[in-house]
């Protein structure tokens, strides 16, 4: 599904190397977790894959089902099936949540040569999916993420994911700022979307999200590289001992 090879990335503004030869391979239907200390480059990886400006790829490749992601505009990556759930979902005053969702969905369908969804069909779908995420009608009517609590913003990200039905989902610290109940709700939303044709990359600091979203593979990232890869037990090890041991082991 997602194939990253030797990815090297620097910040355009500061000429600072962030990713230093990162490789990662995620198969269809798999859930991978990336854990790592602050500043290891986890969020940069998610932004670079989604196509945010301000980063320069100096070396390496990233392919989604064989298509070169790095050469595409962000909207084309989305249409190709990539989705990034933001760590800090953006507030957009004046743009209604429903307008936003419908525009996004239809833009993606259009770019794939599919028919646009009718207003009625869209409404039916969004109401159903919002209900399972406990997002009420009033929230849907508001401007995108404006006046939303931290938990509401994250639920709204998962709603977008549910509506857009991407093949490759990247969750960037989706657990940050969530209480236990909100995290459960979000995790349930994610689990409901797990399927043989859909893969996940879950970026997190803590084991606790992985209690709810069980990963197949866990990667430890430090200083712009994956330094260790293992099964779910690796996350437990981090939770108990912190990163120090692993960092020392690799060094």
């Amino acid at each position: 599904m997602l194939e990253i090879k030797g990815l090297q990335v620097k910040l355009e503004a500061e000429d600072k190397q962030i990713l230093k030869g990162l490789s990662l391979s995620i198969g269809a239907g798999e859930v991978h977790a990336i854990m790592g200390p602050n500043g290891s480059g986890k969020s940069t990886l998610s932004y670079v894959l989604a196509g945010r400006e301000g980063y320069e790829v100096t070396c390496g490749t990233a392919e989604l089902n064989g298509a070169d992601l790095l050469g595409m505009e962000p909207e084309d990556r989305a249409a190709a099936g990539l989705f990034l759930a933001f760590q800090y979902p953006v507030e957009i005053p004046g743009v209604g949540n429903m307008t936003f969702l419908r525009t996004a969905l239809n833009a993606q369908r259009k770019s794939r040569g599919e028919e646009e969804l009718s207003a009625a069909a869209f409404l039916k779908q969004v109401r159903e999916k919002a209900k399972t995420l406990k997002i009420d009608a009033e929230m849907l009517k508001r401007a995108v993420n404006v006046g939303f609590s931290g938990g509401e913003k994250k639920r709204n990200e998962i709603l977008q994911m549910a509506m857009l039905e991407p093949r490759m989902c990247i969750l960037d610290e989706t657990d940050s700022g969530l209480d236990v109940d909100a995290m459960k709700l979000v995790a349930e939303g994610v689990n409901a979307l797990r399927s043989a044709g859909r893969s996940f990359l879950v970026i997190t600091h803590y084991q606790r999200l992985l209690d709810h979203i069980a990963p197949d593979v866990v990667h430890i990232m430090a200083d712009g590289r994956i330094i260790k890869t293992g099964g779910p037990e690796l996350a437990l090890e981090i939770e108990n001992n912190g990163y120090a041991d692993i960092l020392a082991e690799v060094a």
């Binding site: 962000p74 909207e75 990556r77 989305a78 004046g94 525009t103 996004a104 833009a107 401007a143 857009l164």
Partner: protein
């Protein structure tokens, strides 16, 4: 004081090309007085304080610069609203295309008919608010309009009028030079909506005097047409009585030059005036200028100015807005915001907000900003699959939303929003 020679020459050249319309003695007198005002003030030039940002020469020149016609295949503006349509073609009333000038609670007639009558209420309004508004800022183009505009409508609302009156200004000649003068009196407790739309002429001068009596309400929504080359100067003069309400919203897209002046006097206690505008400009030829002057001369009045401009490809936006709070106008609540969204680096927005306050128990605030599209919001939209140009349009509409919200009738807001979306989408193709 004698006028500078250049100004005097330009003024007399323009005046020589015009003829005072005929009419009843009172109307002729009002026009002569207006002509004297023009002669004394002279027509504007770039050297005048309130024309520093906007070059008025095309509005002053003897010949109107020509303007190509727009072939328009859009549904009529306000087409979904049950309204009384009054059509002017290049500044001349067209009876065939207009609805009968009758309605419940409302009296409508042509300016030329009203000014031909020896006794008419319009005598108390025609040129009166315009003359009052010449101080402290001179508006000689308005006086020129009072003197020479032969056509227009005269409206008197005596009840809550259901059907809006829609003045439609069609542009059919590439060289038309039109002037219209409209009068509205909303009697005590009455309420009406005036809609205006259309590019009107190659060069268009339009003046509206509105007297809003005690407890009355006047709603005004206009769409200045999409013709790329038309030049326009418009004046709205309003006087507000006790507990009256005035709301005016203007949507402008394109046009080489648009200067919209709005002068409002709050003369009765607890009155409220809202003026708002949304302008979308494209190209180095585009210049859009909102010049507003609101005078608080009573207790407990509220005024609100909300102006938004979206500029691209070298377009220019101008805002000159003033709130004057006179001595004794306590409990005044004045608000003013002017903002521009610059879609590229070549555009400019020139803003001159002014507050002048002579009362001590007032709340007045103003703000002015210019900025580019929020990159974070843009990336968020793109990351959901929305192409950059479409995402830009979404953010443009979001930026203009605060101004559109000043339209009270939600059906009209939808119409305006839909039209704006259509214009933006059309440009994308």
């Amino acid at each position: 004081m004698a006028l500078p020679k250049l100004k005097a020459d330009a003024t007399s050249a323009r005046l020589d090309a015009l003829t005072l319309p005929k009419g009843a003695a009172w109307a002729v007198e009002a026009r002569k007085a207006a002509l004297e005002r023009v002669t004394a003030m002279g027509l504007p030039s770039r050297r005048d304080e309130y024309w520093r940002y906007t070059d008025p020469s095309a509005l002053v020149s003897v010949e109107a610069p020509s303007a190509a016609l727009l072939t328009d295949d859009e549904a009529p503006v306000f087409g979904t609203v049950d309204r009384i349509r009054i059509v002017f073609v290049d500044g001349v009333f067209d009876a065939d295309q207009s609805d009968p000038m009758i309605g419940t609670g409302i009296e409508i007639e042509r300016l030329s008919d009203a000014t031909a009558k020896d006794i008419h209420w319009a005598r108390d309004l025609f040129g009166v608010l315009e003359a009052r508004a010449q101080k402290p800022v001179e508006r000689s183009l308005a006086a020129l309009n009072t003197a020479f505009a032969a056509d227009g409508v005269v409206i008197r609302a005596v009840a809550k009028v259901e059907k809006p009156v829609n003045l439609i200004y069609l542009h059919k000649s590439e060289t038309s030079d039109a002037m219209l003068h409209n009068l509205v009196r909303v009697e005590a407790g009455a309420e009406m909506t005036l809609l205006e739309n259309g590019p009107a002429a190659a060069r268009f001068s339009k003046l509206l005097e509105v007297d809003v009596s005690d407890g009355a309400a006047f709603h005004h929504v206009r769409i200045q047409g999409r013709d790329h080359q038309r030049r326009a100067v418009t004046h709205t003069f309003a006087r507000l009585g006790q507990q009256s309400r005035f709301k005016s919203f203007t949507l402008t897209a394109n046009g080489v030059l648009t200067r919209n002046e709005c002068v409002i006097e709050l003369t009765g206690d607890d009155a409220s005036a809202h003026v708002a505008g949304a302008a979308v400009g494209d190209g180095t030829d585009f210049l859009h200028d909102d010049t507003v002057f609101i005078t608080h001369d009573a207790v407990g009045c509220e005024s609100r100015q909300v102006f938004k401009k979206v500029l691209r490809n070298g377009a220019t936006g101008v805002f000159q807005g003033k709130i004057l709070v006179k001595p004794g106008a306590q409990k005044t609540d004045g608000y003013q915001i002017s903002q521009s969204l610059l879609l590229d680096d070549d555009c400019q927005f020139l803003a001159k907000p002014e507050l002048e306050i002579y009362a001590d128990d007032v709340a007045c605030s103003h703000g002015s900003t210019s900025g580019a599209i929020d990159e974070t919001a843009m990336f968020y939209l793109q990351s959901r699959g929305i192409p950059k140009r479409e995402a830009t349009d979404l953010l443009v509409l979001a930026f203009l939303a605060e101004a559109l919200e000043e339209v009270e009738d939600l059906r009209l807001t939808e119409d305006l929003r839909g039209r704006l979306e259509g214009w933006l989408a059309r440009r994308r193709r």
